[in-house]
Symmetry: C2
Subunit: 297 residues, 2 copies
Amino acid sequence: MKVAIQGEPGSFSEQAALNLLPQARIDCCPSFREVFAHLADRVVDRALIPIENTLAGSVTENYDLLREQNAFILAETQLRIEHNLIIHPESSPKQIRRVLSHPVALQQCRTFLRKHPDWEVVPFYDTAGSVKAIMANGWKDAAGIASRRAADVYHARILQEGIEDNKKNYTRFFLLGRTETRSKQADKVSLALTVRNQPGALFKCLSVFALRDLNLTRIESRPVPGRPWEYCFYIDFMGNPQQAPTRNALRHLEEITDSVKILGVYPSAQSEESRRSGKGESKKRANPKLDVSNFFD
Amino acid sequence: MKVAIQGEPGSFSEQAALNLLPQARIDCCPSFREVFAHLADRVVDRALIPIENTLAGSVTENYDLLREQNAFILAETQLRIEHNLIIHPESSPKQIRRVLSHPVALQQCRTFLRKHPDWEVVPFYDTAGSVKAIMANGWKDAAGIASRRAADVYHARILQEGIEDNKKNYTRFFLLGRTETRSKQADKVSLALTVRNQPGALFKCLSVFALRDLNLTRIESRPVPGRPWEYCFYIDFMGNPQQAPTRNALRHLEEITDSVKILGVYPSAQSEESRRSGKGESKKRANPKLDVSNFFD
């Protein structure tokens, strides 16, 4: 199975893809738009995209692409993001003049970087890509900020581990496919909706879930292009359309919205983790040993 | 009166500042964080920040800074964003090899840029700053994407007007002060809240407004740093705490939230525009000729 990601080998996206599909071959794309295009054009079987980070927030471009393109969420996974200062093995701390990484990674290491005001901070297109460039060009005056895996992949040297400001740094990723798959194991639904621009419209939408005790885990809003000051809402909630409350909620939602698009019905990362470790809810499940990598074939 | 903005003379922020305060002297800062710092440190009297664009969405850094810092919203204004291709007066279309602008502006002109695949697209820190750099360095091989005003300010030449993909491109800005001002003319409230992580929590918050027929105009969520998968919600609604429904809604909100922070009580851009042009709701107002520039002193 081939999976498209945005970024280079050693990136957090690659790690997340291998967490869900350990045997996958990775297709590295320069942009998220290209990741979606490779999925649509059957260059790959799956795509894996980051959707939100617990410090930086939503990856808004991917929210927009999910609504715009025909891709469905098959699974989610969460990754602890640890940043490391990585250099060429033949370099030394004294030689560093500039630090390269993705802008979000640079921002997440601000406290560390402030201690080195003499280093030039250079935004780069990818965390792992910064290490790749340092090794490919033999740069001794540059350090990259990336994952431990990036250092391994490019045979670079970790100078300092865990340089991020905040350790509670997680990214949530979606695994995408071309066709919708709804399993019995699914316990989470993601959807995008637009409402008529009238008082109480969003309140009515949320009542659909609240009235049925369905737990909302996320709401995000994005502008609707060409309709200034109107918004599309992205909602995640715990449920499965195979059960009546979720089915009724979705039907109720169609009554009161302009449009509803189901983005995916999938097992939540929490249930997935507890299922794998054999703890928690998974004990109640029919087939706790089912492997997620086969599950979506 | 001195107003801090992020960006250069000729930027959209400068235009927005002068729309609200025509006599203001502008203090140009390299980052939004510095804009807030200059306001707190009394380097300036006011700050002006963009908060959302109808195509790109929220300026999330400014949402975070509003919650973190002690600044209050005194007014809002909206600006139609028009992008122009601008060159050195001694250059010509044939000489262009690269196009510089803020990443959001580059993204908003994607259709135009696709027609010129031979041009290198270079992200720059500011729209007007790209024109400034072209003129300061005498670059004949570069074009900037910026406002008409930027061309005027730096005596550069507009090669092509209105190159944006979508004409329905507006940015909403906030004027900030150090102390909260609540006028009778105010008809909009902005606040930030956090809720206990329990089912129906957000629904209960929205019910506070819906039960009192108070119109919500915007909801935005941002992660709470250090509390993974918990969110802070930013809400704008039409109301004034001098009226009972708004006062009661705010009291009700305090009952059911973890924290509520009022970010500002101010006249909405719509009411402001209709007041200035002498149309619409303003006719009902006590003092329709009140000037916004004196209003916040």
